[in-house]
């Protein structure tokens, strides 16, 4: 058998090579290079747009591509700026908005008060997730006074309406249109093509009322895999990527032809402590134990070593800009393992032979859950830090958001690592949403501190002056962090963008939802 030979084996090999070459040649020219002036392809994460009629916010949420514009805009320091409304007044419980004259939708239809009424009515009809639970708008809240004047009267007094409706969810759409099929707005871009899970192609809106964008075409390609997104940028297939993986930022920075840009802090990674848990998740009812947890974690090492410098020391639960000068009211946690150990000793937790602690035969063991975006290294770092003072930490890593939600709603956790976004300009929003006992969120019951906190929040909700609201928010955070240790801010997180060198004038906003694409230009 071994003497068998094909008469011309080399030709068979050649056939194989020829076929392989055919495949490769077929593919030549398929790679799309970006760099053509005024055109940008952005690699985005997974496509999470809802495409159900009435509920769809295609092009607005969770990725706002500036097809539609809200009445006001939220600046990078979370201030309110005029957009489709040039000015506004408040008369009692009613807000009056004066629309910008001469604005037309991308279809040529003029912007009038009717468009505002149509937009908000549609949102109220389609609302099931309760975005209006904090805005208090109803079907009859909008009155069109004339073509360019609209009155908005929330169903209950709402001093924060202005700060809330700058959110991309409130982008104004043309009357009679449905964003699920085609979002029509007044923004600097108009939709050309949306292919679910693949891309969203935009073109400059030539009818735009403001300064026209430099980009003639802007495409968002959905590349959910982090590594693929980075590779697509390195290959020049996209000009920019959103949410560049933290662990690859240094590599991207070092690569010639690429640039990494970090946004100002728009969210804070924080540990929420379950103070109302049922056994065996009841240990953190003790304030001293909670404080010990906070003192045991060296946040600087976390930022520098684990996150490779991609973070910022912060004491508050939201961007510092939200609190202005009142941010200094909140001290935050220092790293003091000795004091942590002392607190544990005072609480009766005595060291055991294996480095842990016990009290009345019960071992000091806590369970941590986390948003799926947090890697194992982060959780293991927290675990090691707590172990250094004798607290054993069990890590429950959720593979996806649904299983995380199931776990947190079951109450089966002691610590919960999250990084909530600040997407609107309401300073009291985050503390009220997550800790106010009357908030409708399902997880408030694990974290609500009680009546004194509620009073501060209510005073903040009812305050007219922004300075008073920020002061109340700072007071609320001081109670949560410094007094009660119900939340431990770990670090401010900066969203990371990576792009080709020829992408210019990109100014990152702390919140991706408020990111402006119209100011970007491409070219040397």
């Amino acid at each position: 058998m071994s003497d068998l030979r094909i008469r011309n084996p080399n030709s068979a090999i050649r056939h194989v090579l020829e076929l392989a070459l055919c495949f490769i040649l077929l593919a030549c020219g398929a790679s799309r290079r970006v760099g053509g002036e005024q055109e940008l392809i952005v690699g985005a994460r997974a496509d999470d747009y809802v495409v159900e009629p009435l509920k769809s916010k295609l092009g607005m949420y969770p990725l706002n591509v500036q097809i539609c514009e809200p009445l006001v805009r939220i600046s990078a320091d979370y201030r309110i700026e005029p957009l489709l409304a040039t000015r506004w007044e408040r008369h009692g419980d009613t807000w009056r908005f004066f629309l910008r004259p001469g604005v037309v939708f991308s279809t040529g239809q003029p912007l009038t008060g009717e468009a505002v009424r149509y937009t908000f009515s549609r949102l109220v009809k389609g609302d099931r997730a309760g975005i209006f639970q904090h805005v208090y708008l109803g079907e009859n809240s909008i009155r069109v006074m004339d073509d360019l004047t609209v009155d908005i009267t929330p169903e209950r007094p709402n001093q924060h309406l202005l700060e809330q409706i700058g959110h991309a969810n409130y982008g104004i759409i043309a009357p009679g249109t449905e964003p699920a099929t085609e979002p029509v707005g007044t923004g600097p871009f108009r939709l050309v093509e949306y292919r679910r899970g693949e891309w969203l192609k935009l073109e400059r809106n030539e009818r735009y009322w403001g300064q026209h964008p430099n980009l003639r075409r802007l495409t968002f390609r959905f590349l959910p895999d982090d590594t693929t997104r980075v590779l697509a940028l390195q290959a020049g297939e996209v000009g920019m990527i959103l949410d560049a993986p933290r662990e690859q930022a240094a590599t991207l920075r070092a690569q010639s032809g690429l640039r990494v840009v970090e946004a100002p802090v728009g969210r804070v990674a924080s540990i929420f402590l379950n103070i109302h848990g049922q056994p065996p998740y009841d240990l953190l009812a003790s304030k001293d134990l909670r404080r010990a947890v906070g003192l045991a974690i060296d946040r600087r090492v976390l930022i520098e070593s684990v996150w490779e410098g991609n973070g910022e020391m912060i004491s508050t639960i939201g961007p510092r800009a939200m609190l202005g000068e009142h941010a200094q009211l909140v001290q935050g946690f220092s790293h003091d393992p000795q004091q942590a150990a002392q607190l544990l000793g005072q609480e009766g937790w005595t060291p055991s032979a294996d480095g842990g602690r016990v009290r009345d035969g019960r071992r000091l063991t806590l369970t941590v859950i986390a948003w799926p975006e947090f890697d194992t290294a982060t959780l293991e770092f927290v675990q090691a830090q707590l172990a250094s003072v004798g607290i054993e930490l069990q890590i429950v890593k959720s593979p996806d958001t649904a299983s995380y939600q199931a776990r947190i709603e079951s109450g089966e956790f002691d610590l919960d690592l999250e990084a909530p976004n600040q997407n609107d300009a309401n300073p009291i929003f985050l503390p009220a949403l997550r800790f106010y006992s009357k908030s409708t969120g399902k997880t408030v019951r694990f974290f609500a501190p009680g009546s004194r906190f509620d009073e501060i929040i209510e005073a903040g909700i009812e305050a007219d002056e922004r300075d008073e609201v920020t002061r109340r928010s700072a007071e609320a955070q001081r109670l949560l962090i410094d007094e009660e240790a119900i939340i431990i801010p770990l670090a401010g997180l900066r969203r990371i963008y990576a792009m080709q060198d020829d992408v210019r004038d990109f100014s990152p906003h702390p919140s991706l939802l408020n990111q402006r694409w119209d100011i970007i230009s491409v070219g040397q």
Partner: protein, 316 residues
């Protein structure tokens, strides 16, 4: 023959029922509540109990599991797999919209697998014990051991970043399918190459090959005209089954290459706890796979007359 085919087709029904039970039970037992996921997707504000309860009612998620299963199975029997929680579109339409991309990928992958496997298997067999044979075996082992995500990134590094010949991801352009198909096809090619080699070696040892040689036929004619025909019978059967694997096994590859097929659809549906989509996918793929196996079995009968004759003899 007809009776055999009929029995094989009828035997598929209990199998499909079993698949449907598994699909339904497994997707419903996964931790996570679809109503909560739907509510969260609509806004960045955590939903209230009432809002989630309202979604649960709308999607009949409060009904007992057997009731929901019976309702779903009844619909499936009529060709209605329900509507996606995520898009509200009929599940069948969603599958039909995404299936062509996966089919394209699987077809190209199969072509790649066969183009690599057949010559390699034949060469390894005819040059048994040579460096080519050993090399093919090592290659097969490597191909079978490499995780598809690792291979995928490696191919991207070489052919997209290194040479710029092929796109990194997506389905645009003529060459877009090459890298994902290569990633998918290489694993299959190793299985087929090993099978081709062993099958050919077996045939080459048979009497009719010795007769062919004795008649003075060239080795080329002996191998390619006589031996390979017989050796390919098991390869063809396995190819049919491998094609089913390629269709259903593209999940990771589609995720890496952002390929808009049903694998990607499944991943998103799992994240969203979109029960109708997950169940529809499993039932659909189960059906495709069982039908491909049936076709492979029948083709075996058709290709190899000895099996038909043996069967006739038994029946006679």
């Amino acid at each position: 023959m007809k009776q055999f085919v009929l029995i094989r087709i009828l035997s598929l029904f209990p199998l499909w029922i079993g698949i449907s039970v598994l699909a339904f039970v497994l997707s419903n037992l996964a931790p996570g509540d679809p109503a909560t996921v739907i509510a969260h997707r609509l806004s960045d504000v955590p939903p209230s109990e009432e809002q989630i309860a309202s979604i649960r009612r709308e999607y009949h998620l409060d009904d007992p599991m057997p009731v929901r299963y019976a309702r779903w199975l009844g619909g499936a029997a009529r060709g209605d797999l329900g509507r996606s929680y995520r898009t509200k579109e009929p599940v069948f339409n969603e599958l039909a919209a995404h299936f062509p991309a996966t089919l394209q990928l699987a077809c190209v992958a199969l072509v790649i697998a066969l183009v690599i496997a057949l010559p390699l298997g034949v060469l390894a067999a005819v040059r048994r014990g040579s460096w080519l044979d050993h090399g093919a075996r090592v290659g097969a082992l490597l191909g079978a051991s490499l995780p598809s995500y690792w291979l995928g990134y490696l191919l991207i590094l070489i052919f997209a970043l290194g040479t710029g010949w092929l796109p990194v991801a997506g389905r645009e352009g003529a060459g877009a399918a090459v890298l994902p198909a290569l990633t998918l096809g290489l694993g299959t090619s190793t299985t087929l190459a090993r099978l081709t080699r062993s099958s050919l070696l077996e045939v080459l040892g048979e009497d009719f090959i010795r007769t062919a040689r004795a008649k003075g036929l060239s080795e080329w004619a002996v191998v390619w005209r006589h031996a390979l025909r017989g050796a390919l019978i098991p390869v063809l059967t396995v190819t049919g089954i491998a094609f089913g694997h390629l269709l259903g096994g593209a999940v990771i590859v589609e995720s890496i290459f952002a390929w808009p097929g049903i694998g990607n659809l499944l991943v998103n549906s799992i994240y969203d706890r979109d029960y109708p989509m997950i169940q529809g996918f499993v039932l659909f793929m189960g059906t495709v796979f069982t039908l491909l196996s049936l076709v492979a079995d029948l083709s075996y009968l058709w290709i190899d007359p000895r099996i038909r004759l043996a069967k006739k003899r038994r029946e006679g």
